[in-house]
Symmetry: C2
Amino acid sequence: MIQAYAVKQPRGRLERIAYDPGALGSDQVEIDVIACGVCHSDLSMVNSEWGDIGYPFVPGHEVVGTIAQIGARVQHLKIGDRVGLGWFSGSCMVCNQCLSGNHNLCPTREQTIVGRHGGFADKVRCSAEWATPLPAGIDIRKAGPLFCGGITVFNPLVQFDVRPTHRVGVIGIGGLGHLALQFLNKWGCEVTAFTSSDAKRDEVMQMGAHHAVNSRDASQLSKLAGSLDFILSTVAVDLDWESYFALLAPRGRLHIVGAAPSPIPVPAFTLIGHQRSLSGTPAGSPFVIRTMLDFCARHRIEPVVEYFPMSRVNEALAHLAAGKARYRIVLENDLA
Amino acid sequence: MIQAYAVKQPRGRLERIAYDPGALGSDQVEIDVIACGVCHSDLSMVNSEWGDIGYPFVPGHEVVGTIAQIGARVQHLKIGDRVGLGWFSGSCMVCNQCLSGNHNLCPTREQTIVGRHGGFADKVRCSAEWATPLPAGIDIRKAGPLFCGGITVFNPLVQFDVRPTHRVGVIGIGGLGHLALQFLNKWGCEVTAFTSSDAKRDEVMQMGAHHAVNSRDASQLSKLAGSLDFILSTVAVDLDWESYFALLAPRGRLHIVGAAPSPIPVPAFTLIGHQRSLSGTPAGSPFVIRTMLDFCARHRIEPVVEYFPMSRVNEALAHLAAGKARYRIVLENDLA
């Protein structure tokens, strides 16, 4: 039996449950959970913001741990290996997307907390290709948030060929944004942080921003008109998008990884006049995750985390909901 | 004096005028107009759809003709050279955009019919870099529409690296779309034409489409779900954009060159889930125009045109406004 924390009804509190995961699939692995990050999407799903989910619902998709069991056909992992697991937990391996290295875009991809149980638990399972080994130099206790928050902001840099010569803005300096600043600084870019919190100013500069701009100050924004090659929005709120399009240099891209609740309105001439793009990406593929982990190890990039024991998961979610997380919460497994 | 056709008030008829262009700039050329295509944007501006324009207003930005005069500093053109002139007529040559080959994105670019007089005239002027020589093999009488309609749909194929292995859809088979079909067919792509006119079906297949889909038939659209790498929208109307996003393959792009009147609403998850992009481009740079003309000459790509004498310009605009142009109207200069 797997011990886990689950909600049993919409907007419920998490309660301890046990469930039988059945026989391990031949292409699967089982992970002994050491720790699991808490992502805003865990909270959104607990709060039923993205529609119906089945119950009981076990959140958690920023898992780190060690391999506890391997399926009969798994060759490349062994018991005890340190691995991480993020938003995706399975892919068909034979569709065009999988065969071209884009397993994260597989039409039948499995998502760790959609229709199955996640990592707020003592164990969690996934298809072996999604259990990514941690390279030496990665602190496993802190690494969980790299597997969703981290890869979600690293992936677009790879997919859209962000260059070291680019000027890049990051909107929202939270769990995702604080990692984006670190990545982009080491990527070689000139980095501007947009945050509504002046209190974070010194911290964002330490994380790698070269400039910090208060996103609620229109005069600060307007000084950047036409200057940014890439803007990465990590926020799950509606913004005055046109004011950010105006900051893009010709050929610039506004890229969305945060789940803004309302459709983004885009006038045709906003795109046409200066060859602008709007785009979005999900979490990255297994290969891009490996690439990110190597980059983190080389540049000593780490999430800034606050620890809670997993038994205090409700308190942790309340802390996140209150906007107080600095910058990512990690639940340490204390299930006995 | 230059003889031209102009509107003198919002939504007016075109009337013959004469104007004094002043001394020729040292970096300019003057073109003896042989013919000038009629673009939907000429009509939009005559109809004051895009805000105020100065009067008298001389439309026309698909000009072909021969060099009549060259400025003192112009070395690479000579009197009598066959050239074309499109939407842009000047650029600063020294900003980052100009110096990187993107003169069409120069912040101080000049537009042929914005704040100056266009090509519904016996002569028109431009900065020399925007008077593009016609290679051998290009029929000058037909070539005008390449300089706006043509380059507007050719440019995105270059800018966004459309590959011969891609599946590409074209929305709207008119002045722009009928050239896009020809380009894409010779580019090596699998080409799907979306048109609301079943009457055009045989013609679009002859132009290079491999499939013709009635865009008003939801069941035909839904069969293409997830299949297209690139969709090029040439229409200046609001569409059910979500139904076209749904046709994109993972990593696909919806690209806009038509001036849809209302903002395009884009849900964040429409972009994020499958790594989709939305983008737009203006007409291309001088180098991309040269590249297009070489491609047209090599593959015998030509606009399908209807000729009107320039003196019947009002009749020509009415024909266009009625949706009857097959596929591009060209005004032949009969000003004496």
